[in-house]
């Protein structure tokens, strides 16, 4: 007979203070666990990050260990010292370690899969550990489907637990200083916010730059504002040059998270025709700020855009479709928040976590 209150060991990669969707997800998750009626304690061991973002009496946040070996050794030592009922593993690559700990301590294994790391068949150790998890949560239906493609798992063993969108993303008034800084007066703005890494070219900046001449022909005021930094910026700059749209492409560089709503306020349309999103939380942030959204229909973006209810889904490989969607959005730009974004609020997420952890009890 299992206890009615569970002690959870959460093995996470990105903890508080780390920028990105996984860190935000982990923070939400730990908070939701702490609020769960089924949970007694949550012990969190992260690899990266600083201090906990939201403190809770049930949560013990241990100092992070950047080095994987040390992090793994500490996780094992923890399991030797304390008894846990559930081991939550926040990254697929750590599944063998988490499985070993869960097996050793006769606890339940809950595995979280975010995105691309679960899309292709991993090595045998990860696959075997995955197939033995008691519960797997995937960030989107797409990730779940890809996981079912290689893992021999009963479909009922994989649930979907999406990202959340925070309430601080709300429509703002356009800030004159930003309009002036980027020369946006009288312009129609296409916006993308993301990392710009050579390893993540799937985001689709190239596709928008390629579509820009066509869009500009129909909407001469069109400009493309790219927010984010990374090693692929120089290549995109030369790409814009080669397509003859360099004067229409503006690289704003990195923008702190708290500033983002002001950048969404500058946009007439947010577009990211990506093919590699696990979910695409940025779509929700844009939509909550009242910006019309365009995303790809080949990956987890379909979930973020709720099958087209939150934004427009296009085939990212179809340049014509993208250009049409962009031109149409600029032509009829309406800045009203989409109410259906609210489904991704933290409260729904927390209730779902409570139900899921209750199922493990």
């Amino acid at each position: 007979m299992r206890p009615s209150y569970l002690k959870v060991l959460a093995l996470l990669t990105d903890g508080a203070g780390v920028v990105g969707g996984i860190a935000q997800y982990n923070s939400d998750f730990v908070t939701a666990l702490a609020q769960s009626s089924h949970v007694e304690t949550v012990t969190v061991l992260t690899r990266f990050g600083t201090a906990p973002s939201r403190s809770h009496a049930k949560v013990t946040q241990l100092a992070p260990s950047r080095r994987r070996v040390l992090w793994s050794a500490r996780a094992v030592a923890l399991a030797l010292r304390q008894r846990f009922d559930v081991v939550f593993c926040g990254h697929l690559n750590a599944a063998p370690l988490a499985y070993g700990i869960a097996k050793f301590s006769s606890s339940r294994l809950w595995l979280q899969v975010h995105g691309y790391e679960g899309w292709t068949e991993p090595n045998m150790a990860v696959r075997c550990a995955t197939e033995r998890a008691n519960l797997i949560t995937a960030v989107s239906r797409y990730t779940r489907q890809r996981l079912l493609g290689w893992a021999n798992i009963e479909p009922s063993g994989i649930r979907v637990l999406p990202n959340t969108v925070t309430k601080d993303h709300t429509p703002r008034v356009r800030r004159p200083d930003l309009i002036k800084r980027y020369g946006l007066e009288g312009r129609k703005v296409i916006l993308t916010v993301s990392r710009i890494a050579s390893a993540e070219r799937y985001k689709g900046h190239d596709r928008i730059i390629t579509a820009l001449p066509d869009v500009a022909a129909r909407c001469p005021e069109a400009v493309y504002l790219i927010v984010g930094s990374g090693d692929d910026v120089p290549r995109l700059e030369s790409e814009a040059l080669s397509k003859g749209v360099a004067e229409r492409v503006i690289f704003a560089g990195h923008v702190p998270a708290g500033e983002l709503p002001h950048y969404f306020a500058l946009a007439d349309v947010f577009a990211m025709p990506s093919t590699g999103e696990g979910f695409g939380i940025v779509f929700l942030q844009a939509a909550r700020c009242g910006v019309p959204v365009i995303g790809g229909n080949q990956d987890g973006s379909v979930d973020a855009l709720a099958d087209g209810q939150i934004g427009r889904l296009i085939d990212p490989s179809d340049a014509r479709q993208l250009a049409d969607a962009l031109a149409s959005a600029l032509d009829h730009s309406q800045r009203t928040p989409v109410p259906s974004v609210e489904r991704f609020c933290f409260e729904n997420f927390a209730r779902h976590v409570d139900d899921l952890v209750g199922g493990l009890n």
Partner: protein, 617 residues
Amino acid sequence: MCGIAGIYAYHYASNSIDRNELLAMRDHMVTRGPDGFGLWLDPAERVGFGHRRLAIIDLSDNGLQPMQTDDGSIVVTFNGEIYNYRELRNRLISKGFKFRTQSDTEVLLHLYADRGADMVGDLRGMFAFAIWDAKKRTVLLARDPLGIKPLYYSDDGWTFRFASQVKALLAGGKISRDPDAAGVVGFYLFGSVPEPFTSFRSIRAVPAGTTVLVGRTGPAAPRRYHSIASTYCEGEQGQAPGASPDYIREALKDSVRSHLVADVPVGAFLSAGIDSGALVGLMRDVGAVDIQTITIGFEEFRGKNEDETTIAQEVAALYGTRHTSRVVTRSEFEADLPLIIQAMDQPSIDGVNTWFVSKAARELGLKVAISGLGGDELFGGYPSFRDIPRWVRLFSAPSHIPLLGAMARRLTEPLASHLGLNRKAASMLEFGGSYAGAYLLKRGLYLPWELEQVLDRGTVREGLRRLAPLRLISETIEPRPRSAFARVATLESSLYMRNQLLRDTDWASMAHSLEVRVPLVDSVLLGQMAKLADRPINKASLANAPLGPLPQAVVSRAKTGFTTPVRSWMHSVIKKVERVPRSAAVAETSWAREWSRFIGRQALHPNKSSLPLAQVA
């Protein structure tokens, strides 16, 4: 007997359900239920059920579905028949439940209110249904103990969908068609796709004898409430009643009587075999009058030993039925073949016979027909009852020597192939030592090591890993009955009968809006016969069950089956469609393998077919 479908947007992130999708799913099954249709959506449009009705019990509009309780807190959509519904109805009335119809569907509503998911244990019949519990916000799916009625579901992580047919789920347009290597490999191993797999990765069968509960986080794993193996084990442990003819007769009569409950005439398929003949005799014994019987005959067999119509006519005359022999011709077969492939819900190498006999029954105006399906499983009519235990005794010891079986097969297979012997013989040492292996050997269309003849290596590797065929077979005989008879009966009933015979009967009969009832596939009868599993019961027990026993000509007649002319027709179609060189076609020794490849190309890879099937006709 009907078609059911439903959608439940259980996840907080999912959109409201799409009414048009539900309609498309429902109306794909129009032949399952031509007499009526219904649609129900909850006010928030988070859940909806659809129903196509073939009216058999309570023909009035009172029987229309989906049906709900007066307060709307419980809603049901149901396919099948509950044969003990009157008894259950009386019990519920005595508990204070108020009924407004005479239908068995309403019994399900109140029984659920009374017993929750445990209600399934009270039901005698063939059924697949879904119940929405508005207070708990759950959908309960249930399928009958032996798997007579089909039920499939799909969960994408946000939204749960179910339907009586795989193709109805696909007709909604929102389910991935990615193939499931386990289902594809399973088809070539067994000749039908073994549940819970289907040809599509996103679609699963609700296993026979299980329920699936769908709540706010999605569907739970299927929960088993009945198993054939357990029934035999319980039968073996209990007090054996003795295999007296009276005991068997009364058990059979009880089942047949139950299966005659209907507000429309109930006919019967009649071949020259024991099963259907005995059932017709028993129908008469329990008081059925003016029974319409149907036999399929072939022009090619007129006057030959293979012709079933002559003996069937004798049986019909013996029991005084209104009898019809329906002749099927090659040209009719070729004309119907595209329709058969279209109606075939999951790929199968069988079902053609049921298609034609159902067609004939419907032409005669019947809505319900009794079939002798299940007699061979219940009374040990297959050669497997003799062969499998013998093989296991013989090969059990050597099969424990590691690698010996695989080595023996590698050495002997070329020889067997050269001599034109059955290539399965080469695998005797490898598979014959266990019940699971011996069953695969006996029933296998292809053996695992032969699959690369028909599928690419990646699909074979992936499919075998996911399907784990020996484990799948072995799990059906857990807990393990003591007697060899019970083990083989369990294997045959849980695999061949369930995945092939019953499934084929469903799609092939429902395509003609005909309900086929199978009194020899009945959980109560199974429980009674399981008590005799270590006694010498056989098909003669069935033949002697009617008060006027079957003629000796029927009992002694070797089982010929329907296939002989159809095999030749199939072969001719394959040659036309696939443009097979004559020499290659002649070299093919197994019609079933040849047919499986044809069906596989039509059903699993329709775009690879070299000639549109319609051009055959």
